[in-house]
Symmetry: D2
Amino acid sequence: MDKVKIGIIGAGRIGKLHAENLRFNTRVEIKSISDLYAQAVAEWASGIGIGRVTDDYGDILRDPEIDAVFICSSTNTHVPIILEAAKSGKHIFCEKPISFDIAQTKQALEVVKAAGVKFQTGFNRRFDPNFKRVREIVQAGKIGDPHVVKITSRDPDPPSREYIKVSGGMFIDMTIHDFDMARYLTGTDVEEVYVTGAVLVDPVFAECGDVDTAVITLKFANGAIGVIDNSRQAMYGYDQRVEVFGSKGCVTVQNEFPNSAEVSTKEGVYRDNPKHFFLERYREAYIEETNAFVDCLLHDKETPVDGNDGLQAELIAHAAKKSLAEGRPVKLAEIELEV
Amino acid sequence: MDKVKIGIIGAGRIGKLHAENLRFNTRVEIKSISDLYAQAVAEWASGIGIGRVTDDYGDILRDPEIDAVFICSSTNTHVPIILEAAKSGKHIFCEKPISFDIAQTKQALEVVKAAGVKFQTGFNRRFDPNFKRVREIVQAGKIGDPHVVKITSRDPDPPSREYIKVSGGMFIDMTIHDFDMARYLTGTDVEEVYVTGAVLVDPVFAECGDVDTAVITLKFANGAIGVIDNSRQAMYGYDQRVEVFGSKGCVTVQNEFPNSAEVSTKEGVYRDNPKHFFLERYREAYIEETNAFVDCLLHDKETPVDGNDGLQAELIAHAAKKSLAEGRPVKLAEIELEV
Amino acid sequence: MDKVKIGIIGAGRIGKLHAENLRFNTRVEIKSISDLYAQAVAEWASGIGIGRVTDDYGDILRDPEIDAVFICSSTNTHVPIILEAAKSGKHIFCEKPISFDIAQTKQALEVVKAAGVKFQTGFNRRFDPNFKRVREIVQAGKIGDPHVVKITSRDPDPPSREYIKVSGGMFIDMTIHDFDMARYLTGTDVEEVYVTGAVLVDPVFAECGDVDTAVITLKFANGAIGVIDNSRQAMYGYDQRVEVFGSKGCVTVQNEFPNSAEVSTKEGVYRDNPKHFFLERYREAYIEETNAFVDCLLHDKETPVDGNDGLQAELIAHAAKKSLAEGRPVKLAEIELEV
Amino acid sequence: MDKVKIGIIGAGRIGKLHAENLRFNTRVEIKSISDLYAQAVAEWASGIGIGRVTDDYGDILRDPEIDAVFICSSTNTHVPIILEAAKSGKHIFCEKPISFDIAQTKQALEVVKAAGVKFQTGFNRRFDPNFKRVREIVQAGKIGDPHVVKITSRDPDPPSREYIKVSGGMFIDMTIHDFDMARYLTGTDVEEVYVTGAVLVDPVFAECGDVDTAVITLKFANGAIGVIDNSRQAMYGYDQRVEVFGSKGCVTVQNEFPNSAEVSTKEGVYRDNPKHFFLERYREAYIEETNAFVDCLLHDKETPVDGNDGLQAELIAHAAKKSLAEGRPVKLAEIELEV
């Protein structure tokens, strides 16, 4: 195989983003895209050279030429599509979270395994050059054994009430990226979670049974401690910083800025805000993420973010939800037992 | 009164530090200093112009010319000395913590109140120009209502086994400064504490029933959340950073460095480590702290860090200890009830 | 016209770079590319979908479908190609410098003007988001009237002896970008130049009658002063910083880095070097530069970097060369008179 | 000698500053201070414990107990006082510049040498921890052989018209510190100077035959190049940065700030301006400068900034003045020949 033929399921914001990145990949052909509102995306799709638009993702799964699918539809459809795609022998790139339900996620991953197809979870931040460099530094032993991992993750604007309602809650919708980042940076699994949450940004979160602000403590299998702080609204833009502190030192990364211009006047020193949101901040990471997936298909390698990575992050998210509800630390083992 | 006459009780590291700062204050005369090992400090004391050295702090309390005392002796002696000093009508500057025991601290503060003498707790970090600026910015409303307060506080080197044993534990010995900082920066009281602690630096901490690494979550009365991360050993020096995130923005301060020289070579970009420890980092803050106390005496003002500030930090420390022991969040009200 | 048909003349490093950027521009079709070694580039060209490869650029100029040419051949061929291209009615994007000879450059620009075709000089740095932001800030009056402009421009590695010999000298080869930047940031023309140069990197520069290190002072028409410092070898990578100081303040930009990871250990604080060279640093700028050119063709607008911009930078470079040779400040008017 | 007895000549701003620093030096006794307006400074002097105030500096020179004098009077009085002080066997700390006249400076230094007294020129910036670190790094060979030295030096506010008139011009009044810094950082002498100057801040400078803005290029004996940019008015405060670029790398230092608080809001990222002026920025350097002088007296060492350092900076200043007047590079040798 020297060119991968891809079908994209779901042409919402993220499906379109992947399509627009993949079309510049000379090792990829996007054969088809499916969307419930096929007509609404037809012009866009033909404009970027996608051969076929359908409202039935089955068309994609039945196409024997297609090697792999990108599942970019709404979360509640992920598992059924994964099951069908695996049975059709398609390799799978699936957006996060795999599902809202641990049992379903596990079932899907078992089917994937049995089918022998490749599976990558859409944790794009692992491909950010800053976070990659942190992981390299940690893995090279430059800061010794990790003791404390700190992740700041704040969105510039809260989502709409409609989105909040179906989001599964902040932990599974937003923090799930940070849970994965915690595992990625330390190379260890999380065992226990404790959450302090609050509604400080907008009462709509309380109405939806959710929070908008949280500090989450993690205990790792190797004894290290993690802490994530989240907010649904940072007025200055997307705030995405990490720090790993260890026995020999510390590594930090800062936000990315659109430029480094610094203006000094009578009023003080000023610079522009960080890149506004994930599309700007993780533009390259999204490209690298799909490049890496395509690489795995072409060279028959393991995907860099597998199904278990998706599952682990979901387990932490469920433990976080329970911790918040019950006001106590919750072990991941407890969540697994419940399934 | 245009000059304050001061007696210093305890000529250990911190007593000497205050003495050496106070002697450059033209509004102060250090009349006497007491220490159990008076002879060992006599030469130093006369070298900086202190009139009298005694091994009996009672000599200081009985001196009618002395306006105020600095209590810099070991923590277990603070309360009895406070009681006597208050009864002798001396104003009091007391090092932190006031005591290891909430009931005793309360009793001491009541006697102080009854005696009508001024009392300042030795939270030097409030006088650091960086943290002062953060508080000003928060109080001016520039970042809106505080939502999340983050404090990183790491020592460069762990103390000796002997010190650890009598330290009262990391929370009351070291984190107490951070507990006060959390209240100082937000202007609110803490209501609940949850601790995740570990022994990752040196097993000696476990042997002494202590931890050397911790992440501590705080719930404030006004709904905000705080998080402190501590380590007894940062190989790169004293790590003292804070961040307050609020409804309108965020304010951060970084470590202080001995110089800003940045060297770029084939191997990368390099700069020297932060100021090594508290003597370097808080040199100015220690001076400002005593200046502020002297100001209060000369102009009959409220001290900027009063006895209740000392008490509140101790309450948080005790709640933290209990949270760690019992693996659950602990309310400060619970600690107060126990007394 | 809703799609521009382009021919590229010269498939060296820069010609290939433009081709690879242009092929992702949905408003562009690269119809042909010419190179003296057509065979050597044929595979590359077909790989990125260029229809035709020829060793005769005349083929491109004679193709009536082609709207515009990118002149990326060696400098000594620019003028004859410009003359022919203009006469063929092709719009022209020409790499810097237009020529090594002021009279020839002027002649070429006159022919371009007479032919009524558009002309853009390849000063890619104008499209760097950092420098663009500096110009915006200056033009918005935020730093008041510019008083001093400072440009640091250092290459990571010196070119080969072969290249140095035909480069036209450092000023016309390398500093020409900085001369343009000085005009771009201030919005004013340069009137006088004074150079202090030296051979400190490699004696090969002296052998070629060139320098490798220089500090160049500029006097602007509006009274401001500029200073450029150049080196052919910065061991830590490409050093590209600017500063504009004015009556109300100052604006600076720093280098760009591949990541912001900062590692603190016992040995100090470390980060990776800046982006290594122009391909990394100006990747986006090269894309924006060609986008802007395409925009001008599609919407019949003035090019953002015109022929006079190319000419002015050459005049400064010639004045610099003379200043170095004669050890005195040289006015641009003096150079113009010589032509 | 275990304590140095000092007399201070001139109780203007800088004389008072030295007095207030020296009084905290336990190895120093300030015996007397002289000022033309002795009465006006008497209260201040007694307040800080200076024994005697006189309007005749001869009283100081004739006092056999006095070991050393600080010459802080107006520049035109320096040379006669140096001559007398040297003949009286007093060690001398003299403010910069030694004089406005090269011949006089040379004569004074010869008399000093003949008298065998120690002499230190008041180049306080050499004692700034940032610049000291740069010099250490350069001397340790970390950046290889210096190729280019860059100094940015801008005052926050221009001096008064009265001061400008008697200042000797910007180069001898203000830039003289930068000339010394250039020699200090590189460890080499300057051989040639070229100046581009302008009046952009205030026409009063033109009226006084002076400039307020300049870029000054230096050629060093070892082939390196230096460049200084000056302004009499930076609206954001004192701007004092340096950079040394060499064969192996580059070292830079930034301005010092009163705090590191950084505020991010909807409007962007903001921090306070740098320390406002020399009293804030060089507070420690002034203390270290006098400590170093006292050290030399107590331990019979060479002063760290000798008379030749003062002379060399003056030579460069005179060459700069001539370069500006004649619009050409001027060699220091030319200035020496004129004397």
